[in-house]
């Protein structure tokens, strides 16, 4: 009698925690592929790479958490297959473990480049603690750094490499950075900010292939526009793929992740999927989404635990995200689209402002730079569905925080 959680990331550990604190008395087994105590990933691309020296890994929970709560954490163990008829999971050593409920928190893996030379020594990616340790060591030696992909990870790393004094070039095949997550106006602001910081941000320019030097290490990157960039360290940040294969093999529906309903249940009601690997119906966008964020992972983990405990309510949390790129703190609430109307509040020249995104007159997302008050106000407004209209937001002296206080006191 018990729950098996496949995955020792933010989502899986949160689910275990919420199950126990919610009164679940059955057994809880966590299968975590990496060795060692499960840890927090966000610092790996930020504090961890800072020149001042790297802090130790930050555990998601201390070792005592697992023993005190009678949670069987099995590290260095992967799940091989799910037998839905017998309700068992076969693990890497061949043992089959029975479950009443199974929570798939399998996460995602970095998308790999397939261009010539992509496997050359000196080309890195960033996902795990080990990746971060290798990169930290490599940064101390590096002079010419090339980053492939101007997404969050790529730009966080680029800013860290600048702080180490490296010369940094970022190649992005799309016409603007962070295009999947940000409005064009915010992308453009970040383009300028990173260029002012000395990062050579090349847009509309993808990677063609890499050259290796006589020592076998990477020595240059060639772009799709036939430019050659000498390099001694390459970091690839071109997105992730959901780890949904084990679900697909078990006959569960998958489509850009494991397909779940509003309760985060898969097509088998005894199996839930949460975090990066779950493709869920998002009430905010009215589309299916698969999000890669701490907030999504933790909130999914809490919700899945409640579902196992018998709750029937739907998952409706407002998504929020953040990225720290050098001194720039980017916070996003809700989900913007490129065709949303954008209203700028605050002072972009002073690097403290927000972009309010409206769709059909409704506030749907807010992107903030160094403006935590705006971001926190936005989270409340979006959760309550109480946005300012575009006209209100454009009025002189408009403050999102003041508007929020008013709106929450006197909901229309």
């Amino acid at each position: 009698m018990g729950v098996i959680i496949i995955g020792g990331g933010q989502a899986g550990i949160q689910a275990a925690d919420s199950l126990r604190s919610g009164g679940y008395t059955g057994s809880i087994t966590i299968l975590a592929e990496e060795e060692g105590l499960p840890y927090q990933r966000p610092p790996l691309s930020k504090d961890y790479l800072a020149p001042a020296g790297r802090p130790a890994a930050l555990p998601l929970r201390p070792a005592t958490f697992y023993t005190d709560n009678d949670i069987d954490l099995r590290t260095g163990v992967s799940a091989r297959d799910i037998d839905r008829d017998n309700k068992t999971v076969t693990i890497s050593d061949g043992t089959a473990i029975p479950y009443d409920h199974l929570v798939l928190a399998t996460g995602s893996r970095n998308r790999k480049l397939t261009c010539p030379g992509a496997e050359t020594t000196g080309i890195h990616s960033l996902k795990t603690l080990q990746d971060a340790e290798e990169l930290h060591a490599a940064l101390a030696q590096a002079r010419d750094v090339i980053v492939i992909g101007a997404g969050f990870i790529g730009l966080e790393f680029a800013a860290a490499a600048r702080a180490h004094g490296c010369s940094v070039t970022v190649l992005e095949f799309a016409p603007r950075p962070m295009a999947r997550a940000l409005t064009p106006v915010m992308s453009e602001w970040f383009t300028d900010a990173h260029r002012r910081n000395g990062i050579e941000l090349r847009l509309d320019e993808g990677i063609s292939h890499f050259d290796a030097g006589p020592d076998g290490r990477v020595c240059a990157a060639h772009s799709t526009t036939n430019r050659r960039y000498p390099a001694d360290l390459i970091v690839v940040g071109v997105g992730v793929m959901p780890n949904d294969e084990i679900a697909a093999r078990a006959g569960l529906e998958t489509n850009n992740g494991i397909v779940v309903d509003q309760s985060l249940r898969t097509s088998d009601p005894r199996i839930l999927a949460i975090g990066d690997c779950a493709n869920y119906p998002n009430p905010h966008t009215r589309t299916r989404t698969r999000l890669e964020s701490v907030q999504n992972a933790a909130a999914h983990g809490r919700h899945a635990a409640q579902v196992v405990l018998g709750a029937t309510d739907h998952y409706e949390e407002t998504p929020w995200f953040w990225s720290t790129q050098g001194t720039l703190r980017l916070q996003m609430a809700g989900m913007s689209r490129a065709d949303d109307s954008a209203t700028l509040i605050g002072d972009p020249a002073a690097a403290k402002f927000s972009v309010l995104c409206h769709r059909e007159g409704q506030l749907v997302a807010v992107e903030s730079v160094n403006a935590a008050a705006d971001h926190m106000a936005a989270r409340k407004l979006l959760s309550a569905g109480l946005g300012p209209s575009p006209e209100e937001a454009q009025a002189p002296g408009f403050s999102l925080k003041a508007h929020t206080q008013q709106a929450l006191l006197n909901p229309a």
Partner: protein
């Protein structure tokens, strides 16, 4: 080694010894102190490591940054003049022992 004492709303307290430059959040998370979440990993992004620092330690605290100030306005438990984010306060030379109260809620 510097020590940090976390006092729970129930009155129960945990004292932990940590390396210099360790933040209150990291100390709490690494030692399993109840009531400190630290969901964003110490970036002052989530306001789930809210603590009330006892007044006698106020002078030894680092200055409140604008970011921290704005995030503290949005803590789940009420903000007071003693409120800080645990990820933004580290122990060390000027602060080798500190006592903080843990709020009732973080999320």
């Amino acid at each position: 080694m510097p020590t940090i004492t976390f006092v729970q709303p129930t009155g129960k307290s945990d004292t932990v010894s940590v390396e210099e430059k360790t933040s209150l959040m990291r100390a709490a998370v690494a030692n399993g102190v109840e009531g400190i979440v630290g969901e964003c990993g110490g970036q002052a992004m989530c306001a789930t490591c809210h603590v009330y620092v006892r007044p006698e330690f106020e002078d030894a605290l680092p200055e409140l940054s604008e970011d921290e100030d704005e995030m503290l306005d949005c803590t789940t438990a009420e903000r007071t003049s003693q409120s800080r984010l645990g990820c933004q306060v580290s122990v060390g030379v000027h602060l080798d022992a500190i006592i903080v109260d843990v709020p009732t809620d973080q999320v």
